[in-house]
Symmetry: C2
Subunit: 341 residues, 2 copies
């Protein structure tokens, strides 16, 4: 069915038998890699995203350098608000800035559900090039932000610990919030279908701020829209939902039909399995700060993690993105420890 | 036994019968109150903390203005690192800054376990004055940060979403980390015993960053030291532990013998009760951003919350501090809705 040389992640997501636990790392194409830093010096953030040759080079770097079992597209979740018409600035080492966020109904005049081929064609071109260059070595993961997480930035206008303004927008103007969430969802579905058509093998939905919502709000404001996305994709691609901190909704996330669920390090794997049931693959959940530990400690902790998850239906990963100050040999030790187990 | 006119919170913490659920709000003495803002304009942060008459006035404001069932001392968790010898600057609306944080063993020469009467006597003076002015109207809650949360600031030097530097300090220099945690614990125990001696009726331990640690690290790095504090105080005061986000350890927190456990809005009260067992009072857990909702929505949501907790062994509160932009009548609506239920 596939000429994929290493299809461990695909088989694990389908619930098929695998020889060993596969591994990749969130933000593996990033600042801890000196080879990435060279390109970061030379090109602006969106230049790197929008130039297929650069995005492809960055995407493939960790496959060559640390030996992960999947590549993940180099891009950013904020290409969606950008495609919808909002200005997005990426201020290096300070994070994103949307100078004119959405606050009122009038602001909706400035955004639209765009034609994604027109606005995000550069991503599809990058994916085609990456697939060509990977040549079946490992699968390619495409991704998008969950609608709630995208709303956070579109309303708050910048990063935040608590995204109070985004939450207050949802609580005080629910009709507008749902209108915005549906526009983001429609854009995201078209975008992700385009990624799959271009060659992405797996789609991960990042709900980075899902954990800021209580269980009922998570259902009403976030999961309801993630569910639409998973359903729209389910005949075309394998899907993973990673809603950081939303441990309380693992059961309902599993019920969406997603093939995988990401978990962070604040829930024990056994309890996550209990909540999520047996028909879904779990992905995670190494504490990213622990990659700064001495290598023997990393290796021992990886063993503990693998034991806690048990064999099968597990993709080893971090519980959040890799930190920029992790030495490359520590990242490699993490990957090797999973492979050697 | 007590000449306290309103001892609802004390009885609830002891597991005794109460006529209705008591209520207070974290950060109730704070920026949403115009009366507080007047004093904030006139006096610097530490001037407000260190002048007993000002601390007393600020502490009592919400009792008069919104009608809460307890006062909580106006102070800051960072008076502990300050008393230990570190410089702490409070940059208004930007948060704390510790310009010379702890990074290496040599930095320990700059800190000590201080005589708390000498360094923190101004807090005890404030408590005595508050108790006199409250004159038994409601109980007074004293507080301190959990040792892990204090370490976060002493090592990172400022606020952070993830406190990576503090975590990396613990993972790469565990002996130093435990030395620092024990010094903070010893200081905190003396400090809280002083608060109780001066008149505090209840002590709350704030582990604002407990939720950044996985369950095992939470036990080793945080709860182990909180347990020492609870044990040192248990014959002298009622204690509440609020470890935000550490839902996974409610059972072991209950086993410390603390009288109350705070929970945030990301766990359903029924599940928190299941984890914590029946011998502890739960405190929480209204989403602070929901206080911006229209008043009828606040009232309805408070009813839902009270129903979910059920009667008895519950102190109504927010799941985190009140936001500065909450209108006073919304705060009052929250308090009234609990009282009217």
């Amino acid at each position: 069915m596939t000429d994929m040389k290493n299809d461990l992640i695909l088989r694990t997501l389908r619930g098929e038998a695998v020889e060993r636990t596969p591994v990749w790392m969130m933000r593996q194409a990033g600042r801890y890699l000196p080879e990435y830093m060279v390109l970061r010096q030379k090109y602006g953030f969106f230049e790197r995203c929008q130039t297929p040759a650069l995005a492809a080079e960055i995407t493939i770097q960790p496959v060559d350098i640390v030996g992960v079992d999947a590549a993940i597209l180099f891009s950013d979740i904020l290409v969606i608000p950008q495609a919808m018409g909002l200005e997005v600035q990426m201020v290096e080492s300070r994070g994103p800035l949307l100078p004119e966020p959405i606050k009122t109904e009038a602001d909706f005049n400035r955004i639209r559900v765009p034609d994604t081929d027109e606005t995000l064609g550069y991503v599809f071109d990058a994916i085609k090039l990456i697939k060509q260059e990977l040549n079946g070595r490992v699968p390619l993961i495409g991704f998008a932000g969950a609608p709630w997480t995208i709303l956070c930035y579109m309303v708050q206008g910048k990063g935040s610990k608590t995204f109070d303004e985004a939450k207050i927008f949802c609580y005080t103007q629910p009709a507008l919030a749902h209108k915005l969430l549906q526009m983001i969802t429609d854009t995201t579905i078209a975008y992700l279908k385009g990624q799959v058509k271009a060659g992405a093998d797996v789609i991960q939905i990042f709900d980075s701020w899902g954990g800021l919502l209580g269980p009922e709000d998570f259902e009403n404001i976030s999961l309801r829209y993630i569910r639409q996305i998973v359903e729209a994709l389910k005949d075309e691609a394998l899907t993973i939902i990673f809603a950081k901190g939303a441990w309380h909704s693992l059961e309902s996330m599993a019920a969406t039909g997603a093939h995988g669920l990401g978990i962070d390090w604040c829930i024990k794997p056994q309890l996550a399995r209990q909540f999520a049931g047996n028909n879904v693959t779990l992905q995670g959940n190494f504490d990213p700060a622990k990659l700064l530990s001495p290598i023997p400690v990393i290796k021992a902790e990886v063993k503990n993690m693998l034991k806690a998850f048990g064999p099968g239906r597990h993709i080893a990963n971090l519980g959040h993105g890799i930190l920029p100050n992790v030495p490359v040999d520590h990242a490699r030790a993490f990957v090797d420890a999973v492979k050697e187990a």
